[in-house]
Symmetry: C2
Amino acid sequence: MSDVTGGEEAAAGAPEAGRVVLVPYADLAARTATALRAAGVDDASTEATTRALMHASLLGVDSHGVRLATHYCKVLQSGRVNGRPTLTISRTAPATAMIDADNGLGPVGSYRAIDLACEIAAETGIAAVGVVRSSHYGAAGAYALAGAERGLFTFSTTNADSLVGVFDGASAFHGTNPLAFGAPMPEGSRPWLLDMATSAIPLNRVYLYRTLNRPLPENVAADAYGTPVIDPHAVEMLLPLGAAFGFKGAGLAGVASILAGAFTGGAMDHEMLSMTRGQDWSTPRNLGHFFLAIDPDRFAGRVGYEAAMQSYLAALRAVPQSGTGRVMAPGDREWEEADKRRREGIPVDPETAKFLNLA
Amino acid sequence: MSDVTGGEEAAAGAPEAGRVVLVPYADLAARTATALRAAGVDDASTEATTRALMHASLLGVDSHGVRLATHYCKVLQSGRVNGRPTLTISRTAPATAMIDADNGLGPVGSYRAIDLACEIAAETGIAAVGVVRSSHYGAAGAYALAGAERGLFTFSTTNADSLVGVFDGASAFHGTNPLAFGAPMPEGSRPWLLDMATSAIPLNRVYLYRTLNRPLPENVAADAYGTPVIDPHAVEMLLPLGAAFGFKGAGLAGVASILAGAFTGGAMDHEMLSMTRGQDWSTPRNLGHFFLAIDPDRFAGRVGYEAAMQSYLAALRAVPQSGTGRVMAPGDREWEEADKRRREGIPVDPETAKFLNLA
């Protein structure tokens, strides 16, 4: 099984207590950049990749944080990924563009795509930018957040190599295919941010439950025949979001495959080289990504939009809680975690700490 | 509890065997149009509404099919909905527009929005159109299909009155807030079509299980305290898609609320008048909808797009099946049902048949 590519995994991916190194944000960013530079990465790629990894590490999505630096350096050195890409940008229509990412690190073409989508949308109201010949782009939410911080509603997706079953199917077909959305908020409030894999459960959760020898929730993962299992050791594929209504999760995975793959000319999930399995570490994987930016100013206007968002989120957070869980809006948990990590430092697992010369 | 507004409910909403009237497509469409006209509806609204209801009745989404004619006529007569609206279209940017639907029947403004989005996207590559001061728009997939049939990838969403709990919450907050996506296919193949509520289960499934006295699947519905229940008689709210990962379903419901509500100036879910509960049948509900159309020509191009879609769907349908269920792509089941209903007639429940003078 390959690494999960959705970005929703927060605490579960945290390294074991007692062996964790807590590293201040700036130090961790600097070490990550240093590691990338040492692998031959140019300045633009170093900056974009460090930014994407630090997004995830700060917000608690450790599966997509700085631990990926190790993998990225490996694929840079093996030739799969190009650390000094030349991006080719084509404006294909007044509100659309394509970026050929020259097999660079995923965040380089992706942040450029978000910048471009925001620039175009400022003129046209909405814009879409596809990226092709890219590689793993980290947490989908990094780009949704980047657009939301510029005041635009932003959508980010990528497809990925097969790891998740289709509804009623007996083999993995889709990737964990994340969908991320960021909605701008008024000055002083942080964006509404949803970053979710379309699988029922993140792969790292399965690994965690293996370590704990704990049964999984029902209908989130399956054996090699597509039969749901709760024994984490028996898991051969993840199941799509929705359990008995898993056609929904599988359909949403398809949205990612269509927009990020079929639209851009990127590899489709079932034909994509695995991120971490397999012997081939030198052939580029031709990942595609897809980004949308929409300007609230061009619908009912910013004032009404911001008032509606404030009233909506205030009402949502005021919903009485069931059991022990607090009612939170998408992003609330991540912003709290980010504040905590800014104060206390970012936990880094021993292997990554060693790789980044932190331990 | 109000009517579910997602469009994914196929067979479960079918009327009891033995009392069903099977009606040929053209006859049913004519009877539906006649009923609307008799309620004072103008030609454009009659045509659009009949088209949306027949979409659902043909594809097997009976909850959103011609049975709604009864409800629509009721709210036309009670003054909530305007059968002779004057749509006001504002082009707000080169690639965006807003439609004020003048409290008309939902399908009128919605089909106009899809037409406009497709026209604009032909020039700009992508377009978004918001609709405000609208009403229940039927099945979200009707509009996704309309755009896909014109060769564009199309997204359709609406929000709705509170019926679905938020993650960890003890009261209903979001509507069933459907997300529908339609992807064009090459000449001769019917579009890929996903039309899903963001709740874990459709309300009509709960009603069906009540009739059958059968326990529900776990974690799809809850009592008034937000505690999951499997007794269908104890259900007071639906749960968001995703069970233990219900923050995903709730987040996706939020995407609908933000785009259809906050963007357009429509009512937010928690402030929206109920569709069927409550005493007020004359105040317009101010529903908002949101539509996107994206032209595959403006990314990697139509030829590559169509080849990728064909290879992707062929591979998906070839996934070996687990258990007894066939592996299908989104829309496959609906297209089969549509073929059957074209041949055999469309089943209409006794109450609706009586209303439409079919029994």
